[in-house]
Amino acid sequence: MSLAFYLIVALTVAGAVAAVTLRNTVHCALALSVAFAGIALLFLELDAQFAGFAQILIYIGAVAILIVFAIMLTRSSDTPATGVFSKSWLAGLAIAAAVFAVLGWAVLRTAPMLPHDSAAPVVTVQQIGAALMGRYVLPLEIVALLLTAALIGAVIVAMHEKAGAK
């Protein structure tokens, strides 16, 4: 566990906490991209270069921008007078704390049995491409179909209805 790991974890967790607690929705989306960048750095720290750069491209480049677009389109950046947290926030917080307690307990209990540090695997992008086109070609095609369906579905759901269509 190096110093870099702790710095990246502090950045990621701070971004995630800010993303769910800030009052202005646009600030939440910006804090979310900080958390995504921290997770991408953790991927790079884990020698998963391809996944790290894919994370930067897809999450910071597409998903965060999409969220900002949705905030702008729904004009929900100004804080409502009734508060930003729902009526049952205490129960939600308790459930999240219970989930973290269970997960943390399970990890710490099995920590001595987990594998120790191993040599960094050398994985080139060429190998990933060969695997995607060879062994994983069927899941790749299914994901392509899913993305096409999601694209069409999102456009149809968000499309403006005609006046007489209802």
């Binding site: 990621t12 769910v20 929705t25 939440c28 953790l42 969220i67 905030i71 999240a96 990890v107 920590a111």
Partner: protein
């Protein structure tokens, strides 16, 4: 503490933060942000297990994470489309006011 346990704890913490956000916020877009954080925590688990697992050269965990990222992108697009569609009907993204189907 082994490095793998450290990564698993970080992923558990991120998952809990995302769950807390999804369960406590009023705004539908903030609930989606919480869900995205939970998906990212799961991806971190997959990559960590791939890195410290017995056969990293088989690329199984890496592929799982890449496909998971693709599915999460599709989920975000459809989810935000739904939020915009609901906003057009009710002029609000407040989840507490969306109780038309409440029994």
């Amino acid at each position: 503490m082994t490095p793998l346990a450290g990564y698993l704890l970080v992923a558990a913490l991120l998952f809990a933060i995302g769950l807390a956000g999804a369960l406590t916020r009023r705004n539908a877009i903030l609930v989606l942000i919480g869900i995205e954080l939970m998906l990212n925590a799961a991806n971190l688990n997959l990559i960590a297990f791939w890195r410290y697992g017995p056969h990293p050269e088989a690329l199984t965990g890496m592929m799982f994470a890449i496909f998971s990222i693709a599915v999460a992108a599709a989920e975000a697009a459809v989810g935000l489309g739904l939020v915009i569609s609901i906003h057009r009907h009710t002029r609000s993204t407040d989840l507490d006011s969306m109780n038309r189907m409440k029994g």
